[in-house]
Symmetry: C2
Subunit: 304 residues, 2 copies
């Protein structure tokens, strides 16, 4: 392992800063910046920075968290494929964001980059990487989905032509609501347990993912943010956000693990939408834009 955690931390903090400065400038609302530290008596040690813009004109809730934690023993969920590292001390660091825009025509977005280092007592440290980004529209636009996926492909291209198709598929599989028989959104890329390029090159790939986030998402924001919308569009958006909550609270391994292992609840739940609704068996008007979302966008599809 050649990548030092301080190098990664420096990158992650600057990525968070860059993204949230951009968000704040676009929105005009005020940013809450909250530096936190875990109580030293807890088994999971660490600190982090939450940056969040709430009740903005453009973003109803845009949260981005940086954290750097360490623990005495790797949790089982992290060593499923790496039995030899079971119970080793570890260090984890990452940036994770979810943006919930106000305008129903601007999609919700998620991005995450993280590194995990296992430090077994009698062997060398091992680092691996995870992350990705994915888009969840309430109203679908083919050109937005294509732009988002092309940017995902571009950011991985220097690291291997096979990565985009692999990580695209992985994303489709991971962000899937089995109980609704529905993908969470139109996908993007997702990867985990990654160090097949070696630590240095894998870290470069992580930087490429982080650096491409604004390029992937903000042109879509620019294009859709002034679309006029009605109460009905808004109601559809709040209803669709329910699926986001269902995914994150019922299915997301990171959320579950975080909440159950004594992680920082307010930071983990940065991903929750500001306002959400549920209703019984909502019916979609045949031929409506709302129905098109389900029939033409929330399906298995190659966007490029």
């Amino acid at each position: 392992m050649q990548v030092s955690s301080s190098t990664v931390v420096t990158y992650l903090k600057s990525l968070q800063e860059r993204i949230m400065t951009d968000v704040q400038k676009r929105d005009g609302g005020s940013l809450t910046i909250d530096a936190w530290r875990k109580d030293p008596i807890e088994p999971l040690q660490g600190y982090g920075i939450t940056q969040i813009l709430e009740s903005g004109d453009l973003f109803e809730r845009a949260g981005c968290g940086f954290s750097h934690v360490s623990g005495p023993s790797l949790p089982p969920s992290a060593t499923q494929h790496r039995g030899e590292l079971k119970g080793a001390p570890f260090e984890a660091m990452g940036v994770s964001l979810v943006f919930h825009p106000r305008n129903p025509f601007v999609p919700t977005v998620h991005m995450n980059v993280r590194m995990l280092i296992a430090k077994p007592v009698n062997a060398s440290a091992v680092a691996w990487f995870g992350g990705g980004m994915d888009l969840t529209p309430s109203y679908g636009f083919e050109e937005d989905a294509v732009h988002f996926h092309k940017t995902c492909r571009d950011c991985l291209k220097p690291f291997g032509e096979d990565l985009y198709p692999r990580f695209k598929k992985w994303c489709d599989e991971y962000f899937y609501l089995k109980h609704r028989n529905e993908p969470r959104g139109i996908g993007g890329i997702f990867y985990d347990d990654f160090n097949e390029l070696g630590a240095d090159r894998s870290f470069q790939m992580m930087q490429s993912v982080g650096d491409h986030f604004l390029k992937a998402y903000m042109p879509i924001v620019d294009k859709r943010q002034n679309t006029p919308y009605s109460e009905q569009h808004r109601a559809h958006q709040l209803y669709r956000r329910g699926r986001y909550v269902e995914f994150n609270l019922v299915l997301d391994r990171g959320t579950h693990f975080g909440l159950q292992s004594g992680g920082r609840t307010e930071s983990i739940l940065l991903s929750m939408p500001p306002l959400v609704s549920w209703a019984y068996q909502t019916r979609l008007e045949p031929g409506s834009q709302e129905e098109r979302l389900i029939k033409e966008f929330l399906i298995h599809k190659e966007w490029i």
Copy 2:
């Protein structure tokens, strides 16, 4: 086992009917009644009736489900304490309700009564019971909590003086959000795996719980439903509903099991609130009613 499932089904259907007729009469809104049946190709067989009132003046969402299902093999979650019945064919029936009132001063309520019958191939069938009811206010009133708990105690009294304290404790322990270090509400009663009185008497106890629901809840609705409220009260209610969602989607075993085992999603998620909000580190004004909820109601307390 002397209790036949058709006797229990008859009771459950009439209970649902009685409760939802009362709800409809009070609210004046229209009731959706949806009889459903599982696709015969699915492993879990069964049918049910959903009754739900949405967007009412009094109840923003009041859902009550009856279901009667059977499966070829008891799920592990149901046989934790009954290893000898592992994998036996089973039959389950119950009524479950959650009411989310519009006025923030009227508490949310949950009630459930259910019977499970295991039918091992080489042994007699075994039935057991589960259920309870509990109250989740956004604004606390001591007299409401006392009335609710007294009614819970009264409904169990004929079956043993020890039951209320046992089931009250069980309820406090079950409806607890560890990740928030907060009980879901002011409790009530909860029990599971119950057949220590024999099937007949346990079924009578289940009927007593069901029959006491309206007496436990509706006097509180009567007292609070015309309380004037502001936008701030409403915002607090929507925020508190987030805790309800967190409990049900992250922690509730029934919800999890239902969603993961191919249960009927729309019926399982009847419990979701109609409108919910999340915000980062909401601060409570010292001495406010909102703070009193946390300090004086969401605590371990004997209400009687």
